[in-house]
């Protein structure tokens, strides 16, 4: 690691309306280092990086690059300076080949494409950095991990000197992550500067040289990784805020089978088979986790159980009764609750107010409905009850839910979903994108429901969460159930192997 400052951001402030996303942030990047940007969601990490990329412009502050003051007004400026980013959602054209995608982004292809030369360049980088990419393959054929490598390759071919990666490990299995960080290390040794955004402390401690912790828009702490301890990082990320007490897992014995899924085949939106011969059974009073990299059939599984997707073949039975053909409304009255993965697309209606969202599942009940007319008083009462019991911060129950923070939105959704005393709660990534406080509340609610005798189907890609919460864990890979384990009898290694498709 050399000690030359490559880039410096000084006093960066960015306001969105009344919220201060970045508040006088200073960030220093050294040549050839791996720099971790750590912080909760909403701490301002992405905003800061987007400023560096010219997507946002700061309200005040200065940026120095190689000692000279620069103004990055557009992504084009950033590219010219050699700053590039691998976004969490890849920007690739599926029908084109790897080489075509890469040269599309470099923008220096001649009128007549020289495929051989393109592929040669890519192979060169592949060898140099151990970045395994087949330049001739079509992007749609690639796994998520491979697509990420293509994105990294793009930056290399553009001669980027600063490479920013937004939560790069989120889409990978533990084994794949390790490989990826190894590649990043070789690139850093070659003089590239790497910044990765993360909220996982262990990978930050393991793979970075220097850490900057952001908290509510400000730099909370800055350190060399060798000086970092878990305590110091936790304190910087979370602050002095005291967390809710965790709800303990109650002992449960001899629970009866609640839901049985047999040889389930389900298609995705494109008409391709997303679930292949999936069988499992859920018991009352357990948390059954579905592990796996997102996009391996999790969404289809959640939707088919909630009655929102058709079964191609196979059977779903609840308490011994065949419910394969039951529609969403029937499933709701059978006591199946659903916390969908993208709450603003499904589950909550951002433009409608808290009251209207609170009764989304129950407006037909006589409590809220008299001769087809909505009863305002009970609706108001139930909303206020949700707000009070789950400490949902809001500007007023007559305002749209889009005005609340993600954590409070999720609390409202979860409050509604458990209010009907469900027998089964399908929770798809219930704490994704939430800060630590909200995460604790949601996890506590789910644990309480389990202790009360409900079954929770917890879909997650965070192994930490799965090992903390679940009684049993199943792994989905490419639509197939790779295996079911008692959580207490397995480990990260084994689950990681199952996630990557190796059968045990």
């Amino acid at each position: 690691m050399e000690n030359t400052v490559l880039l410096e951001m000084k006093g960066i402030t960015k306001r969105f309306g009344k919220t201060l996303a970045n508040d006088h942030v200073n960030l220093r990047l050294y040549k050839g280092e791996i720099h971790a940007l750590l912080g909760e969601n909403g701490a301002g990490k992405s905003t800061l990086m987007n400023i560096l990329l010219g997507i946002y412009r700061p309200n005040s502050g200065e940026i120095f690059y190689k000692g000279e003051k620069v103004s990055i007004r557009s992504p084009k400026d950033a590219v010219r300076l050699g700053i590039g980013m691998v976004h969490q959602h890849f920007v690739l054209i599926p029908t084109l080949s790897v080489a075509e995608n890469i040269f599309l982004s470099t923008g220096n292809c001649s009128f007549i494409l020289n495929r051989a030369k393109m592929e040669e360049t890519i192979r060169g980088y592949s060898k140099k950095f151990g970045l395994d990419v087949d330049p001739g393959a079509k992007v749609w054929q690639l796994s998520v991990g491979e697509q990420q490598r293509v994105e990294i390759m793009k930056l290399l071919c553009r001669n980027s000197e600063i490479m920013i990666l937004d939560e790069p490990s989120a889409v990978l299995t533990p084994q794949e992550s390790r490989e990826m960080f190894k590649t990043l290390r070789t690139m850093a040794k070659d003089g590239k500067t790497i910044v990765f955004i993360s909220h996982k402390m262990n990978e930050v401690m393991e793979y970075s040289d220097r850490i900057t912790v952001l908290k509510s828009g400000r730099v909370e702490d800055e350190m060399l990784t060798k000086d970092a301890t878990v305590e110091r990082l936790t304190k910087a990320v979370v602050g002095s805020r005291t967390l809710n007490k965790k709800v303990a897992r109650a002992k449960k014995e001899s629970a009866c089978v609640l839901l049985e899924v047999e040889h389930l085949h389900v298609k995705n939106d494109k008409g391709l088979m997303a679930l292949k011969d999936v069988s499992f059974s859920l018991r009352a009073g357990e948390i059954f986790a579905i592990a796996g990299v997102a996009g391996n059939g999790q969404r289809e599984l959640a939707e088919v159980l909630a009655g929102l997707r058709k079964v191609t073949s196979g059977k779903i039975a609840m308490n011994g009764r065949d419910i394969t053909k039951a529609n969403a409304r029937e499933r709701i009255s059978l006591g199946i609750s659903f916390i969908p993965e993208d709450r603003l697309k499904m589950g909550l209606i951002p433009g409608m107010n808290l009251k209207q969202n609170a009764i989304l599942k129950s407006f037909r009940e006589p409590e809220f409905n008299r001769f087809g007319f909505l009863r305002n008083k009970p609706i108001k009462a139930v909303t206020e009850r949700f707000v009070a019991t789950h400490d949902i911060k809001n500007g007023g129950i007559d305002l749209p839910v889009s005005m609340m923070s993600g954590g409070n939105q999720q609390k409202l959704l979860v409050a509604r979903e458990i209010s009907s005393n469900p027998a089964l709660i399908i929770a798809a990534y219930p704490v994704r994108g939430l800060d630590i406080g909200a995460t604790e509340s949601i996890n506590n609610i789910l644990m309480e429901q389990r202790n009360k005798g409900a079954c929770v189907l917890l879909i997650s890609e965070e192994l930490d969460e799965i090992f903390e919460m679940s009684d049993r864990v199943a792994v989905l890979c490419d639509g197939k159930l790779m295996g079911i384990r008692n959580t207490s009898e397995t480990d990260y290694e084994e689950i990681g192997r199952l996630m990557s498709g190796e059968s045990a």
Binding site: S60, R80, M346, K361, P400, S402
Partner: protein, 366 residues
Amino acid sequence: MNFGAIQIEKKQVVSLRSKILNTVMFVLLGLAFSSVLIIAVGFNPIAVYSKMISYSYLNLRGINGSIKAGLPLMLCGLSVSIAFKMNLNNIGAEGQYAMGAILGGAFALFGPELPIPVRLMVMFLLCAIGGGLWAMIAALLKAYWNVNETMVTLMQNYIALLFMDYLCYGPWMAKKQTTPISEPIPKGMYLPNIGNTGINSGVLVAIAIAALLYIFLKYTTAGYQIEVIRNSRKSAEYAGINVRRYILIVLGLSGAIAGLAGFVQITGVVHRVQAQLPGGSGYTGIVIAYLSKFNPIAVIIVSILMGGLENSCAAVQIMGVPSQIATMLQGSIMISVIAGEFFNHYKISFSKNNMISQNKTEGVAQ
């Protein structure tokens, strides 16, 4: 040029007052734009506008006329509003109006001689059924095969109007007539004026429907479900709402209300069935729905203003202003108001220039 100083922010809550203010402002802007064209053809826009206003809105006779002309517009506006409330682009009010008029008109002209109130009641229902069933074609196609309702309802308009032409030029044409009109309906079925005001009681039908619609959308579980579907079809399905059924209900209702325009127009105004009876009301209904922001009560008021606008053309025609001025005003006001919608949802502010300092911006170039 530094566009960086302009900031666009999304407004979260919009008060009713600012909504109304916004609409009024952009109506005026639309008028200002039209006045350029009026000047271009050689007239004084102030004189033209004041003549139009004083003719249509500033005396009892003018107001009566405006209401009368606004009568079918109210129902067409309501029809379009409820469909648009669920993001269903029903631009077929014109055709649904025609089909309602045909079915109800057939009963009025050729139906059995029942007591007058019964006959009016049956005709009322038949008009609604005519329009409703006609819209149901588009609704079924939309609900079961996701066929674009905009195209279907538009094409259906041509079919309905040509069918009406056929009847009025053919089997229904009155004896000793050269124009495509039917015999008058029985005198007893004419809707009377309210007291001695000269205002036709058909307007009460429209107001009653507007009020019912307002209550339906705002206070019932059905209205709630419609709002959920409009905002997020996915969330509606998630909540177990039968979206397909609501497409049928809402488009059917929309068509039925448009069909009732036929009822009020035949019984209240023209007293017969004639070719081209809707005369573009179905399309003006779209303009009215937009200007009223789909609020049923506002539809009534805007319809009267639009009715008056159409009437006032006659007044300025005497001055030599082309009669197309009404259409032009409608168009420019609508474009202006729809464009102005942006300012209902976003706030634009000009921040002081304390951005990345402007000196040495060329540092980027290497």
